[in-house]
């Protein structure tokens, strides 16, 4: 049986202690390697605005390398990735992310395939918004 591949979206936060430019590239490379090792593929990766270095909404306490107690982080470096992974290997992939000490948080979500179509159509909705407004006023009159 052939393995089923699915598109996922991964967002992870790199510890601010490791968020220098070269550290970020080594860490993202490491993630990409683990994707490749389980037979997946990285479709895109971005850490430009609004991602990249960002303030956290609340402090996250995590163990960092070479420290005995947990440290409270107020900032993090966000990276967003689009992946295609064999569904059976997802657990293994998440395990590897957890082992990565530089990653303080991560979230893997399934990409809604039909959602892409809607996302592409969002440009169209701008032009049709005038018509929508007209509809709304009609509703008020009723």
């Amino acid at each position: 049986m052939r393995e089923l591949q699915r598109d996922y979206e991964l967002m992870f936060i790199i510890s601010p202690l490791r968020s220098s430019e070269e550290d970020v590239t080594t860490i993202t490379n490491r993630v990409q390697q683990s994707v490749a090792s389980i037979g997946g593929e990285v479709i895109s990766s971005e850490n430009g605005s609004p991602w990249g270095r960002r303030k956290l909404a609340y402090p996250i306490r995590r163990y960092s390398e070479g420290e005995a107690s947990r440290r409270s982080f107020n900032e993090g470096f966000y990276v967003l990735m689009r992946l295609s992974l064999p569904t059976t290997q997802l657990n293994e992939f998440e395990r590897q992310l957890k082992l990565n000490e530089a990653v303080i948080r991560h979230l893997v979500t399934l990409v809604d395939q039909r959602g892409q179509v809607v996302g592409a159509a969002s440009g169209i909705s701008e032009s049709t918004s005038v018509i929508d407004d007209a509809d709304d006023t009609n509703d008020d009159d009723e």
């Binding site: 967002m11 609340y58 979230l107 979500t109 809607v118 969002s122």
Partner: protein
């Protein structure tokens, strides 16, 4: 206050409100339109922090449907999106001043 809002959500109350609103204070029910429906977004996205923030109270709670006016379908997705955003520290679990 909440009681007034409750009435306000019901679109069908609009006409009746005018009839009985002689001695009571007048409350014109405005039909609320789901923002996600209006913007033609299929499911709320956890990365869209700006939009999600509108559905979060001062204390960091998810606003109920009767206040936010989202439709049932989008509210369901919205709660999931807010919780995902919280996990990634994009949104707070509790307000900053209560910590």
């Amino acid at each position: 206050m909440s009681d007034r809002r409750d009435r306000g959500d019901r679109g069908d109350r609009g006409e009746r409100g005018e009839r009985g609103g002689n001695n009571r204070r007048k409350f014109v029910a405005r039909r609320k339109v789901c923002i996600y429906c209006a913007d033609k977004i299929r499911t709320p996205d956890y990365k869209d922090v700006k939009r999600l923030q509108r559905f979060i109270s001062e204390r960091g709670k998810i606003t109920p449907r009767r206040r936010s006016g989202t439709c049932a379908r989008h509210q369901r997705g919205l709660t999931v999106a807010v919780k995902r955003a919280r996990h990634l520290a994009l949104l707070p679990f509790i307000a900053a001043h209560t910590r």
